[in-house]
Symmetry: C2
Subunit: 413 residues, 2 copies
């Protein structure tokens, strides 16, 4: 593959995570390295608010980080997308050729030859369409997707950057809620609602306490298996017979056997641009069921957005992996890859070791990797040891931000 | 004051905090010291589930910590009440003399001469009644209250143990939510509901970002001032004109001018044994108002129980203060104090310095210290610099738990 000289642009898309800026820092590190050895990539621009900002030429020169290791290190621990994000769904080329011509004009104007997009499932759809377009148009540009999602539901990769930190946050917070719930002697049920519309990965991490102090939720429900309210009530009653404080972890996206969402009663009716239904109230639905059918004290806790933006509690493994995959994307693109998503292949869990690879993004986009059957117990209300063995290395290690006036330092671009 | 030889008992009561075990560790440290210099206090028992467990002689010998500095240090960072808690309201002596006779029998059986109760407003009511009873009965026992509440609403003390850590959690989490909310360009309002039924102290801490990176909620509403929905909608519209992402911090206990709770529409109807109404849905009420009257994207986030049990993110100042006040209580009791609540007097904010004192618990119980007018802006929708100057030292410094298998170590008694 011949060398392709030119500038690069990087963007962030989709929901924020605590590690998406670590991947941005990784791409910056990769390009700095390439620059230092006088490789093919020149300038690195950041697009504000993803592809939307790129269309409007809202670019920021990321050369500001070249001489500032301290700032780059702080960027790695700043939560949420420092460049801003968008939820723009790209039109099909045949439906809106003008859109693509306008993009092409921007690429030409800034001599952009490398395009990096950090995002989840929907962002890989953007990478897929864009790489198909440039291949067709004859404009020589390499387009690479770098995964990011707390949901861990992308096909083809062992795990996703951002998942480990979210899982550490969930596991830690649930272990604290278990302590909090255990202080009284009266019978009480605590429902913890965890993010996860289609895949229950993040909810599985609630059980990680089993490997630490032995405490874990009594019951865990994932979207992978149909939810049965009668089974839930019976299992909760049995758990209450054993000890007064029962904790239940539940994915926001659990559905009844007929496919309706358990939280449907509390649905907002809003859909996002990708057609996903906006869910709210799965925990509330279970709370009301316990109140009506068991009658004991009950509360629900929605872990909410902190699951994806708690930069104060990250997995050192996740941050290191997230930086490394961004750097690897820059180097892979310079070496000739395009139309690919970067991914991890796990070599070993103990000791933990992963290597990088990349795969055709067209094969990956718009697919969902669910929690496999062997990670879910026979009763469909708990997590197996095999699942915890998979999860454990991803949450290990702590890395703390620097604190200024008692609060974590954040890099604002 | 002559020396009083005998054993001691310590209990925890009311809602958990991230620092209540630090105070327990402080009492343990104080008694160990007294023991080592062959002072008046012998054994130290812990009562499980507060006064309820004491009645049932459910005691644990806290001598287990005497030779185990590592375990004691881990206890300081374990969230929620390690001894368990209760919400038992003591009867008046004249209403239930048998109750007090039974308690007295337990004191005599275990030769309890020192009684330490770590708790909030309601727990000081217990200390007040118990100290009045023993004074009357002629049984020589010293009864000391040690404050604890994330609400910071106890009279007579500069601040309360547990508040600084809760405030650090709130300030940090709100700063992360501000980052998370800022990634999109569409107009959106994020309502953050923070604990605080009668006093808005914890909500004031949401503004601490002003001293760090300059980011803070656009609007802050406290229970100290009547809430006006029209003013809220107008102020929110004005804020949306300035920037697309508006963040509002609100205490769960805000009320309209007629005294009804803003979250009343979503009230559960449940009251606790002290007659407090259980609130839910203040954030939801504002979310619905914004949706109806402004029509932009809006969400509400309830920070929930993590505010009081996030042992992974504590203020080093708070933990040190909480340990120190527990130790001081043990020493003050040995020196003759009784019927008192320990408290802090601030000597200086910069550098931060506090000294201990104690005050008659009868003067303190059942009173509420609200956020004073000079800490609230003229529009009643924001926090003054004077308030931040008061808050800042309380959240400063970080102390991290030891992690085991990626999760914080917890001491379970």
């Amino acid at each position: 593959m011949s060398k392709l000289y030119g500038n690069a642009v990087v963007g962030q898309s989709g929901g924020p995570t605590a590690a998406i800026n670590a991947t941005l820092a990784g791409v910056i590190r990769g390009v700095i390295e390439i620059n230092q050895r006088q490789g093919a990539i020149g300038k690195l621009y950041g697009m504000r608010n993803g592809i939307e900002g790129l269309m409007q030429e809202r670019l920021v020169d990321l050369g500001i980080f070249a001489e500032d290791e301290q700032k780059l290190s702080a960027l790695e621990l700043t939560p949420a997308a420092a460049l801003g994000s968008c939820r723009k769904k790209l039109p099909k080329h045949e439906d809106d050729p003008a859109f693509y011509e306008q993009l092409l004009a921007v690429f030409k104007k800034y001599d952009i030859r490398y395009f990096f997009y950090i995002g989840g499932n929907d962002s890989m759809d953007t990478v897929s369409k864009l790489s198909a377009f440039v291949a067709e148009s004859g404009y020589d540009m390499r387009v690479m997707g770098v995964p990011k999602t707390i949901d861990n539901d992308l096909e083809g990769t062992d795990h996703t950057p951002g998942f480990g930190s979210a899982a550490k946050y969930v596991a830690t917070t649930v272990s604290e809620i278990i302590r909090d719930a255990a202080v009284y002697t009266t019978k009480a049920v605590t429902i913890v609602e965890i993010m996860g519309r289609d895949a229950g990965w993040l909810t599985t991490s609630a059980s990680l306490g089993r490997l630490a102090n032995g405490d874990e939720p009594d019951l865990v429900y994932l979207p992978e298996k149909p939810f049965c309210m009668d089974e839930f009530i019976e299992s909760t009653k049995k758990a209450l017979d054993k000890h007064p404080s029962v904790v239940v972890a539940v994915s926001e996206g659990i559905r009844f056997a007929d496919g309706t969402y358990v939280g449907a009663g509390a649905q907002s009716g809003v859909k996002d641009v990708f057609g996903h239904q906006y869910l709210a109230g799965t925990g509330k639905a279970l709370e009301y069921a316990v109140r009506d059918r068991i009658g004991c004290k009950v509360r629900s806790v929605e872990l909410n957005v902190s699951q994806r933006c708690a930069g104060h509690l990250v997995s050192a493994t996740d941050i290191a992996d997230s930086v490394a995959i961004g750097r690897a994307a820059a180097i892979a693109a310079e070496q000739g890859e395009s139309g690919k998503m970067m991914l991890y292949r796990r070599i070993s869990s103990a000791p933990y070791a992963c290597e990088f690879d990349c795969a055709d993004v067209h094969e990956i986009a718009n697919k969902i990797k669910c929690v496999p059957d062997e990670y879910i117990n026979a009763e469909h209300n708990g997590i197996t040891d095999a699942c915890l063995a998979y999860l454990r290395p991803l949450i290990e290690g702590e890395r703390y931000p620097k604190y200024v006036s008692g609060l974590p330092e954040q890099i604002i671009l």
